[in-house]
Symmetry: D2
Subunit: 480 residues, 4 copies
């Protein structure tokens, strides 16, 4: 029910011999589907020949049995699921990107967002380069191939390109004979790898995708690391390692799947810990704790366990509402939330309810959910957010918009409580958020909450948060 | 994750004036989607003109914006979602059925299964009647139109037909000017109605569909009742009322949605009660109680609340796996369960786990789930079924198959525990199942558990459970 | 470019053993596609099991490789292509119709139109029968199954039913073990059969479909004949033979394909003969004769050959314009004819042109074509119709509408010439039309030209030409 | 029925104000559909914003009403239909290509084939450039944008790029504010423009597309000319003009539509002239002249008119066989020609037939057509080709393959006559082919007949006719 969109998931497989790598990638993307539902793509590497299919839609829609069949077998494949953030969506921008260059084919897929994408694109355009997409991945591809001309190998070209590209990126790159995984020096988004019994290496944004294909997780790709898989084994390049780790803390709160383990901390546990922190800070006298499905459930259970207030199943989420859901009819249209979410009235009626959700962005969804509870007879509704208040935009790929749309930038907590109709409102504490992984309070980017960005934000990018509104406007005149 | 399929859901709307009844029915069918995912259909009555669309697929697939648009507006509509049980599926058998007869158009949709369908069909065939489908609904349509020739009204024809048709049926019937709802004399499946603020009456299999369209529930249609909605108001015919009520208890355990209220008992509460009964009967010494999503969650919470053993979120269900999910690849194919269901390892590892599921049919799914838990490090796994053991086939529409496929018909509880790999196994007690609604222990059909059928089973039908296997065999020779 | 729509084509195959009868039928329907482009269907009989697919669309659209595959093999199949005439179109009315009855399955397909369909339907409805379609074929199916109850065999039932059904019908009927072809006693539409080298019998509306599947034509099915194909050979029932033959003469002029041979006369030759008759009657002083593609070409050649005036290829028809052609854009929309038909200007400029088309119904298309020629620089345009003027509606299946829409009912030849912008206008002579087959002037129904109907027209049917306008109106109230 | 595939058609519209340019382009592409049936695309320029849709399929398939709607209005648009020649087909290579570069957007579409495409691509790759397609158009786009960096305007960049690209190209290029049409210095393929009453300029491969959208042809774009359309009017750049004109003569024989006028000669007339030349050279004693539809009809008429031997309509071409035609069934598969082409037996039986087709490539189709005539009872069959014998491959876009597949490279005329089963065989004379336009025998490329190529053929390209076979082989290893 969240108003925030995830961005992307990447997947790669390197098998010791030709096998059904398309099927493996398909299962892996299924497990990563929660990271992006706008488009999906797979590239199979059959001894140097790349076969690609990518399109707008869910993994299930994009890959029919027939389509998978046509991808054939191979010993490598990479895949991608995507949610369009800043840039325009659609079929053209679906990844992985496949390009031909001096040394043959290359396929790439990225989770993340460059902060100097605009500048690099401008430089390339000044040399007469053409762009087919508006996506960062094409800028990355160019930067790598430009390096490739003067490098001895594709992995050196990737390492070289990483001197130039800045921002967040968890990358999988496939050449005719190699699979490469690379993570930006701050490790803003997760990326891990594992191995299957048959010797196939798997790279994925989250460990849940390793489990889905029967692989055992080995470890995270480290921030700045470039890991290369070839017939001769693994090689790790650590040229860009050693900078401060700053992983997006929102991965724990919302983006990642509860059963994924990131840096030895299970996401479900991190969320229960968020609930427990909330119980400490907000010891509310209530009858029941309910979470908004699906991402509020873990924190609600954590609150219940810490506080001793009973956990309740207060909502039924209609699981048949897909992305193609249409909302016809004048009278019903306004309340899509009611179609997606039903209250179990007998659980709520007459109760003082603690309602836990993952975050509050604009507040409109929260307001509707509180209204549903009131309508079902809740005596009191205390809303708790398992994230701190959003106060700053994100430049690294999470769709946290400009301050204009962030309710917490314009209203006090009390005002927001009133706006959403809750009896009280609480946020996860800024101090607590850094300890969600049970660690020492370091290693996170919490910039959307505290404004402490791990990288410089180039003037152009800061401005362009707003300019973009113009440039994607179909009426913008780009005269020659 | 259940191996049992639901059967059908029906919906009807009678509005005081022309409005977007197709949209209303669409939302209603969405809320009933859990009762049938094989086909969906809507018939709109626009002042006597019927516009129909029905096809195989989910509501979302069958009704695009364009299709709904073409159905137009009207003052009445009926809809249906279906899971094929005994008879063959496919587009041809999608409901509602629309027929032309002496007095004009008629549209019908049914939840249930006739026990004398074969006999009635034979009689009609002996008169030279032709059948386009293999569905009971066509037999019901004929029976009503035969009555209609000698009746004064459509409602009299329905009442008359109910003397002839036997078995389970929650019916909605639409004539050019009337909407009729009828429920079999034992009330084997639920059917209720309500009213919206704009004066539109809504009939639906479950109250969750009334909520979805903003209607207030008035009451259940009573067993045997025929309720007619016309411009002049409601008329209830109680000719067939007064027989023993015997509603399918499995509606509470599995079929109905947790937020639906049937006979004043919320389904979620009934399921938690099942969990509490299990806690009483099986006071296991364990560390955590987890339910198999989605239908085992409520009973798991009930067990936890009664026993004091902590409730855990032990599984993540992949919500993106639709009906069109394909399972490519030799190596992975065998374990579809792993793709659909992931264990949250940190919740399970090292724990003595109580695992609650709604029922055990063949045991194969249970075995795989237990294996997942073992693999994730569970120390003990105690499996509890919130239904008693299935020992008898169902003749009323629930897809509980012949004894051949029911594991409990062939093995003791201890044997089954061993087969599925559980440390112990328990079933809801046969005495407890009748009290799931918090009532006096009467009013239920529990035949699949105790063999006490509310109707006679005609010789032909009993036999045909097996003969059918032959008759649907494409190689069966039906020579003329 | 004609304004008249064909109605239907039927096809059947009876093979000595199981083979790819679906593929055979597919090719046959392809060759009959010109007789109906609205829907297509095939039923395969696999040892008594019927597998069916039918839908709205061209043969090519309805039958994908996958769909044909699913129909499987068998030793019999029937097929149908359809153009909706009086009754509503759509998927529901696609043929063949498949019904279950007392003696098993039956599949039927018809080319033609009953004149007592309304009466038979009313009788059946009075017995409480239900109808799923508004098509005559369902009335025929009922009439046969009603006979079947008291008959010894399906063929006797067909012969029996033919005492009751009146009008035009070329029928193929398939029972679990027999294929039956029947033609109405006047033989209003063609129906022939042949044999292939492998011993398979083929029945088809036109001989071009026999050629397409490699069969040799044996002969026409005679008017009133019922021909039955079984494992034991052919049986002909001639109970209904001996009435006056009255085949639709418009089959020669427009409906049939030029390479088909009907009653030993090639359709192409009949059309050239029409052109020759026109040359006799209208010895125009002109420079060139051009035909409107495709059905005016043969007659234009006939005129040229008789008159000695050079034959020209004056038009290019855009062969890529399918039924799904959309005509977007305000400015261009009005002139769809220009998109479909281009003039070869160099052939026309400065010439006195004789323009031959198959018929003139409303005159609007003719007017546009004449205008195209004028625009291309024609000095004179003399329009000739290879059919006489339409003065009467057709009750037997050809879409010649009520007199309201027939321009010749309301205007003199001179007036029509002026309306369509031609310098002169001529029609095939009523006396000549009966000699198109090179015969003795008998054996034709020319009712649309001369009003001499071969059957009585029941009062209801005559009226209903107009009433129907109401009954298909979606606003018509059919109250109960 | 030809074995030769056309290559491409381009279209552009520049309107004085915003209007339905997508609809105009749609109609234009319809008229050019014969030039390419593999993919279609339209780019609409709405005040600098480009909206694109392109996909594999016919214009009718690719552009639904909905798709056209989404393209919206604008004051410019370009479109393309394509048949894949040397390079791989599919969605990725569909044109127009749209790229972003230093100065904004650019859309391009080409009819033709570069001879130095491989070299230019290699140079660009050496600079680190990436390629998304294997199409020449991407090489052209790069070459233009490289020029653009140092040019004052887009038109200068196009003129500059033309110094580098070599081969055949009829180009339309669209910048945010300009439409540019350019034709290679030899004018290998046609390109013309015209104006509509509303002041909109239209550029198209053939004049038939101007007619289709109601435009009046002004003139051909001259070989080497760059014509720019802006708000301020037309500007012609003639930097590359003045080289020898060498238009592909096969445009008159086969590629272009009969109603198109190229260089003041109507294509239909050129074809009739071919027939007349054949009649002069081969004065055969026969009863009838028939053409193979559609492209043999005009020449057959020309032969008939010159010789006095009657013209006959000998074949019916099944117009419902689209590109999606499947050929199921073992027994029938081998003779697809029979499904597509039927003989009008009464025209052929007992006759000495002169059969005219546009060309003979491999001879297999000709052999089947001759066989159909023999089967229909032809006494003699004299085959005439309205093209000379193919002896050389084409490097400029027409799909005339390597000598391996050209029957005339390996057999004498007598041998070929025997192979295809004809009593005699004749080809259009090499001397005559240069006079098809009624001109002075200059201005044509007849290289496929006489080996006189208008440009040098770079060593790489000559070789690559064969190497390509390897490089498009999915098993070719392109190792990094």
């Amino acid at each position: 029910m969240s108003e925030i969109h995830e961005e992307c998931g990447v997947f790669g497989v390197f098998a010791p011999e030709v096998q059904e790598v398309a099927a493996t990638t398909y299962y892996g993307l299924f497990a990563l589907q929660h990271r992006g539902q706008e488009s999906a793509g797979i590239v199979v590497n059959d001894d140097g020949i790349f076969r690609t299919h990518r399109d707008a839609g869910l993994v299930n829609d994009v890959f029919t049995a027939d389509r998978l069949q046509k991808l054939g077998t191979g010993n490598m494949a990479i895949g991608h699921v995507r949610y369009g953030t800043k840039k325009t969506g659609g079929r053209e921008n679906a990844q992985p990107l496949v390009v031909n260059h001096l040394k043959g084919n290359m396929a790439l897929a990225q989770n993340g967002c460059l902060i100097n994408g605009y500048e690099l694109r401008s430089e390339l355009e000044n040399e007469g380069c053409i762009f087919h997409t508006t996506s960062d991945i094409e800028v990355i591809a160019y930067t790598i191939t430009k390096e490739r001309v003067k490098s001895r190998s594709i992995e050196q070209a990737v390492v070289g390109a990483m001197h130039r590209i800045k921002g967040s990126y968890s990358l999988v790159v496939m050449s005719p004979s190699k699979l490469i995984a690379a993570r930006d020096p701050h490790g803003l988004h997760p990326l891990c790898y594992g191995i299957r019994e048959d010797g196939a290496y798997i790279v994925a944004s989250e460990s849940c995708a390793l489990n889905a294909v029967g692989a055992q997780k080995i470890r995270e790709i480290e921030p700045g690391e470039v890991l290369m898989f070839t017939k001769d084994g693994l090689v790790s390049d650590r040229t860009h390692c050693g900078q401060e780790k700053r992983m997006c803390v929102f991965e724990y709160i919302y983006t990642a799947r509860p059963d994924s383990i990131i840096d030895n901390c299970c996401v479900h546990d991190a969320r229960r810990r968020a609930g427990a922190f909330l119980a400490e800070k907000y010891p509310i006298d209530a009858d029941i704790v309910v979470g908004v499905p699906d991402s509020g459930l873990d924190a609600a259970l954590g609150y219940s366990q810490k506080s001793g207030i009973p956990y309740g199943i207060g909502f039924i989420k209609n699981k048949y509402i897909g992305r193609t859901f249409i909302a016809p009819g004048q009278s019903v249209r306004e309340d899509k939330v009611r179609i997606k979410l039903s209250v179990v009235e007998s659980v709520i009626r007459g109760k003082r309810v603690i309602l836990v959700d993952d975050s509050i962005v604009r507040g409109t969804t929260s307001a509707r959910i509180v209204k549903l509870l009131r309508h079902a007879g809740a005596k009191e509704v205390h809303m708790l957010s398992s994230a701190p208040a959003f106060l700053n935009p994100c430049y690294y790929g999470t769709d946290i918009d400009s301050r204009d749309n962030l309710i917490a930038c314009h209203h006090s907590v009390e005002e927001i409580a009133k706006i959403i109709g809750a009896d009280s409102l609480g946020y996860l504490d800024l101090q607590h958020v850094k300890y969600l992984d049970g660690g020492d309070g370091t290693g996170f980017c919490c910039a959307c909450f505290d404004g402490d960005y791990p990288t410089e934000i180039p003037a152009r990018t800061q401005a362009s948060r707003f300019e973009q509104k113009i440039s994607t406007n179909p009426k913008f005149q780009n005269k020659n």
